[in-house]
Symmetry: C2
């Protein structure tokens, strides 16, 4: 059999604040040959997500933390180069939890076949992958938007936010994004078709929300937490729904996070604030992906990826998520 030279990033230490180079160890070693029921995947693209920061922390969460010394957890897409499974052949394209490495030896049952003739590979990490599923189920199942509702989305130029806003437009909602900087805001309005986008770095957020949401906020899809969550809570309508999908403003905090001081707006407005994790909707991924692929084919839904080349750039590329430098879904090309 061929020997494949693997390259990996392993977690070396639990970060305090932003992950540093010394929190990672870079390892080169031959890829392990697949056992029965396993496949060896040549990873082509890796998904970089804000949630990865949470996986690096110790403590109870919705999935176990990445162990010190383990390959960093990440979703990826790639081509099977060796198969010891009846379900896949060499040359098949698959997605799965491959980790930050060039080759992954994984159980065949953990892989999902994907079709690069339907959409480019990177789209399977974005709109047709977990990012898209998060947006779809978070907005539709938890946010329950109705036609005519005003939907506000933070992190609007980010991978999840961009898709949330576009789906909300498809549902007939007025959609207002919140993003950092004029370039992102222009992208959100001009390319993604949001009705408005507020630059939280430049604007008075409360004033801008009043201006762009003259009928108040019915659904707030929160990717960021902190002051932006609080500003939105102050302007929700009766029976509003707040989807807690993430809190990127808090992930690298070294002091305790600040809770929303005005959470009693939930009481006054009989509103709900609900957390969501995409894994809970696994039995409906297929249905959602078919609907999203249909919207893409009709030109109603765009999938934009910010592809950075080179597995070796991972430690620095990951930080783009937290500085807000990425434009579209951040993807690492191996």
């Amino acid at each position: 059999m061929t020997s494949y030279n693997n390259r990996q990033y392993r977690l070396a230490a639990r970060p305090v604040g932003l992950p540093k180079r010394s929190d990672w160890s870079y390892v080169e070693e031959p890829a392990r040959a697949p056992d029965d029921g396993e496949v060896l995947v040549a990873v082509e693209y890796l998904s970089l997500d804000p949630a990865m920061r949470g996986w690096m922390n110790d403590g109870k969460s919705y999935i176990p933390p990445v162990a010190i010394g383990a390959v960093m957890r990440a979703l990826g897409v790639g081509k099977i180069v060796e198969s010891k499974s009846d379900h896949f052949a060499s040359g098949d394209y698959v997605s799965g939890g491959f980790g930050i490495q060039a080759y992954a030896t994984v159980p065949a049952k953990d892989c999902t076949k994907i079709d690069p003739s339907i959409a480019p590979l990177t789209v399977y990490l974005n709109v047709l992958g977990m990012t898209g599923m998060t947006a779809y189920f978070g907005l539709l199942d938890v946010g329950e938007p109705k036609s005519g509702d005003t939907v506000v989305v933070s992190g609007a130029a980010g991978a999840v936010g961009a898709t949330v806003g576009q789906i909300a437009k498809i549902q007939g909602c007025r959609v207002v994004g919140i993003a950092g900087g004029p370039q992102k805001c222009a992208y959100v309005v001009e390319e993604l078709g949001f009705d408005a986008c507020i630059d939280y770095k430049a604007a008075n957020l409360a004033k801008s929300l009043r201006e762009f949401c003259p009928n108040g906020i019915d659904v707030y899809f929160d990717n960021v937490g902190g002051d932006i969550l609080e500003a939105c809570l102050a302007q929700i309508n009766l029976h509003a729904r707040i989807v807690i999908c993430g809190a990127i403003s808090q992930y690298n905090a070294t002091t305790p996070p600040k809770g929303p001081a005005n959470y009693l707006s939930l009481l006054v407005n009989r509103a709900k604030m609900q957390g969501m994790i995409v894994f809970d909707y696994a039995d409906r991924y297929g249905l959602a992906a078919r609907e999203m692929a249909g919207w893409m084919a009709e030109g109603k839904l765009k999938s934009r990826e910010d592809v950075v080349e080179g597995l070796e750039t991972f430690p620095e590329t990951l930080l783009k998520l937290f500085s807000g430098e990425n434009h579209g879904k951040l993807v690492l090309k191996v």
Copy 2:
């Protein structure tokens, strides 16, 4: 016609922190005779509720604030002494929003007939009144308890909390109260039948919650906010429901309230936190009251009122709610 000497407490100033004597003006004047469609009610008992503190503040809320110079808003029960309505006769007992006064001249349509042969008058301000409705709909509609769930209730010796816990027991839940002081905790366990009650003034709350909720918290019914909300959020289960009914710890705060710093527990646990206001369920009050009266008749549900005599004691009696001195639903006997 007879002339009735009315006595009233009117709001004189918007309180800062706890309401002071000088925030009230005491007025004696003849009661106004009823016009067509109105009744004159001799008020017998008045309901004193934490929510009243919110009604004294200026600003947008779920109902308009009490105007400066207006009779303080309050629910009450009493006997009709003059009727200019076909729907009521002199001698009928009614409940309604009578305000802190001895006589109320109100539209007949705002009164609900009550039957003192079914339950003592004060019960119509407690389990069979808005307090009971708040507990019933907040727990059952928002909290959605299932048999076997662990339900935690703060303000457990308070009017709403006591009823919430008893209804949760009727639903087959494990019920843990949180209250202040050994006397209240004993009452909650021994008289109301909760499985346990934590004295938050004496106990390490986190440790006690772990001890008494070994399977975690499925429903948390919050009447208090602050540190207790945060301690409960830290121990919720997957898909838990947090009912935000009140936040008595925050109502007299003169500094901005503290939000729950660990609200991301909602994300990790895909849990929801939802506010409720009893008025939204008005079309089902009748059904709920019939079910609650049935439970009372079966001995499964107790209604305990802490009756303080004398309308003139209102300014001081109200403060018992915030010092936690009341035992059971606080009621003022006119």
